[in-house]
């Protein structure tokens, strides 16, 4: 069962930053690596996201769900991050974070790392727009209507990106990870 934030259910009409932070931070830390933020930069980029959330929270009018709004900020922050990395000619692939695997055994941890590493390498080859839709839908569990809202595109554009991304990811994973592994 996928874990999803409960930001909107837990909050009243006025949003308290601390509550939003506590509710959303685990998911922001999940989505950023899948959007290409390398482990060494994760804290800095997450900080950027929450500074933006803090700044704009008072003017959040609830026209989208709060979690959708936060995810939208994550995507825009990642776009900026990737652009900055591109201008600095940095390669932004790296070892995947091991957040979930830390409490597991060594074998499980190795499998997790291999699977996430393969997925991240595959995602790295996707255009940011397709990657965003794929990650928000397949990993974060957002509905397509929410994704279209977060990415400011039509629902059908979001769908076309999702299907293009799925096709790419499935094909590439078959090449990257041999049968039987992880």
């Amino acid at each position: 069962m996928r874990e999803v934030p409960e930001a909107d259910a837990a909050l009243g009409p006025s949003h308290d930053f601390e509550v939003v932070f506590r509710d959303m931070a685990p998911y922001v830390l999940r989505v950023l690596p899948r959007m290409g933020v390398r482990p060494a930069d994760l804290d800095d980029v997450a900080q950027e996201v929450f500074l933006a959330v803090h700044k704009s929270l008072p003017s959040f009018e609830g026209r989208s769900q709060l979690r959708t709004w936060v995810y939208g900020i994550c995507i825009r922050t990642c776009s900026n991050y990737r652009r900055r990395a591109y201008h600095k000619h940095e390669q932004i692939t790296d070892a995947p974070v091991q957040a979930a695997a830390a409490s597991a055994g060594p074998e499980r941890r190795a499998q997790t790392q291999q699977a996430l590493g393969a997925l991240d390498r595959v995602l790295e080859a996707l255009p940011i727009a397709q990657r965003s839709v794929f990650v928000l839908h397949e990993i974060e569990g957002l509905e397509m209507t929410e994704i279209a809202s977060a990415l400011e595109c039509s629902k059908f554009t979001a769908y076309s990106r999702l299907y293009a991304a799925r096709k790419h990811v499935e094909r590439a994973l078959r090449v990257l990870v041999p049968e039987g592994g992880p």
């Binding site: 874990e3 932070f21 931070a25 685990p26 922001v28 830390l29 997450a46 900080q47 950027e48 929450f50 933006a52 803090h54 700044k55 704009s56 929270l57 008072p58 003017s59 959040f60 009018e61 026209r63 709004w69 825009r76 776009s79 900026n80 652009r83 900055r84 091991q98 957040a99 695997a101 499998q111 997790t112 699977a115 996430l116 393969a118 996707l126 255009p127 727009a129 397709q130 965003s132 397949e138 990993i139 509905e143 209507t145 809202s149 990415l151 400011e152 595109c153 039509s154 059908f156 554009t157 769908y159 076309s160 299907y163 293009a164 799925r166 096709k167 499935e170 994973l173 990870v177 992880p182």
Partner: protein, 251 residues
């Protein structure tokens, strides 16, 4: 919908489990430190660029992009949403933000180089008008793409059906039937069936809508709208032509 590769499912399961740990959250909170009170939004907050000037900039940008789109795009491709890889926060794409965050209050003076946090939080303009939507669509269409659209013709047909729902549900249903005939198991079969249920309800053909909903649940048991459909099916049935359809969630 095609069965997904087990390998992809396994990788996704791992990714879904990778939520931030409590100590990572605490470290991040400490890094954020004491935050100043957030500014109170004010409609009269002074800005260094007046609303008239902003409108002129937006209009000029829009006109330039429409021109560029018309020059660069073949006519036929304007109707098909193309995958874009440009960041969504281009000045034009923000024009189509129907439910995006409200504008952040502007500081009294706008710095030359806004901070990344400010950039990320900068909100889109108010809900778009149709001309602005066309600009956004044109900008989307001219955005460069690495991957080809998976099923442009299929998608275009379904988009036309979607666009026709309000003005002519009968026409929408006819296009949906065309889609079902041409692409019975296409990439968008699930969306087509969800759309068909909505249109049938809109037309008051509740019995058919319910039959189609049952078939949908059997065919796509993992779709995100299944529980809504099931709830609707469980509700006491009202006669055809008597049920004003409220759109059901699409997957």
């Amino acid at each position: 919908m095609s069965k997904r590769a087990p390998l992809l499912e396994r990788a996704l399961e791992e990714a879904r489990g990778a939520i931030g740990r409590q100590d990572d959250v605490e470290r991040l909170r400490a890094k954020l430190g004491e935050l100043p009170p957030a500014p109170v939004p004010s409609a009269t907050a002074p800005t260094s660029v007046g609303p008239g000037a902003k409108l002129a900039i937006v209009t000029l940008t829009g006109a330039l992009l429409i021109g560029a789109a018309l020059l660069l795009m073949p006519r036929s491709s304007m109707n098909t949403p193309a995958p874009a890889h440009a960041p969504s926060r281009t000045p034009v794409s923000t024009l189509d933000a129907r439910s995006a965050p409200a504008p952040a209050p502007m500081p009294a003076t706008v710095p030359d180089a806004p901070s990344p946090a400010l950039e990320a939080a900068r909100a889109p303009a108010p809900p778009a008008k149709s001309a602005k939507r066309r600009v956004a669509r044109a900008a989307e269409a001219i955005a460069p793409s690495h991957a080809p659209d998976p099923a442009p013709a299929e998608l275009e047909l379904l988009t036309r059906a979607h666009d026709a729902i309000e003005a002519s549900p009968q026409r929408a249903l006819s296009l949906i039937d065309d889609h079902a005939r041409l692409y019975p198991s296409g990439s968008f079969a699930q969306e087509r069936e969800a759309l068909a249920i909505d249109v049938l309800r809109k037309l008051g053909r509740t019995t058919e809508a319910r039959e189609r909903a049952r078939a949908f649940i059997a065919r796509f048991p993992k779709a995100s709208n299944v529980k809504h459909l099931a709830r609707w099916l469980d509700a006491p049935s009202r006669s055809d032509h008597n049920e004003q359809a409220r759109p059901l969630p699409t997957p």
